[in-house]
Every structure is written in structure tokens, then in C-alpha cells.
Symmetry: C2
Subunit: 70 residues, 2 copies
Amino acid sequence: MRLERKEARLRADQYSKLTEHARRLSRAKAEGGDRITENTLIRVAIDLLLDRADLLAGSDEAELRNSVSL
Amino acid sequence: MRLERKEARLRADQYSKLTEHARRLSRAKAEGGDRITENTLIRVAIDLLLDRADLLAGSDEAELRNSVSL
């Protein structure tokens, strides 16, 4: 899988939650295979958003978030 | 809003779709206010994932993705 670097800017609360979930999932998973890192979860998050990209609308971050909320 | 840098690794297809949607949303929005960039969408994506973090399970990226799919 070819990956491209992108310098993201995350809120501190997002970053710490990503770290926490990556650790939890790493501990739970069977040995072997790829590591589960914050970057793994960021890619999963983007796929989740792109699945709903048709719904994305709004002029600022809060409106965008609301447009794709469940 | 305090933001932290995180060097992400995105698939090429994800990156290009984020760029495309950021441009589309920027063109559509009213003038003024913050820019809508790939980073705006990455933060929205992470919030969407964290909303469903209780569902996250799996040993690799495909399993993680499936665990939170709609």
C-alpha cells in the first residue's frame, strides 16, 4: 500500500484519544501482523468520512461535523 | 483551538479525495471564515470515528474498518 505523508493538525483531545484507542486495540489483538497506530486509525477515520462525503456540507468545521453526524 | 502536529500517512486515493472535497466545500461556502482544507476534513473524520470508538475492534486495518462501517 503506497502511503503519502501529510502533516495533519489535530486537536489535543483527538490526538490523545487516538493514542489511547490504538494502544487498547494493540493490546487486544493477536500477535503478529501490522502494528495498530494512530495512523492506522486516521486512515480508518478518513474512509468512514469518505463513505459519507455526499452528505458533507457546511461553511465551517462545526457545520461539517453536524452534516455527517449519525 | 490548540492544534498539535501529527505526521499522518494517507493512501494516495484518500489524499486526493480529501483535496477534492475540501475544494468543493470551499467553493460552495460563503466568503469569510476559516478556510476548509484537508486538515479540516481530517479533524471531522477523526471526530466521526471517535463517536463510534466503542465499536472499534479488529486486528488489522480492514477489520477495524469493517467494525465501524455503517
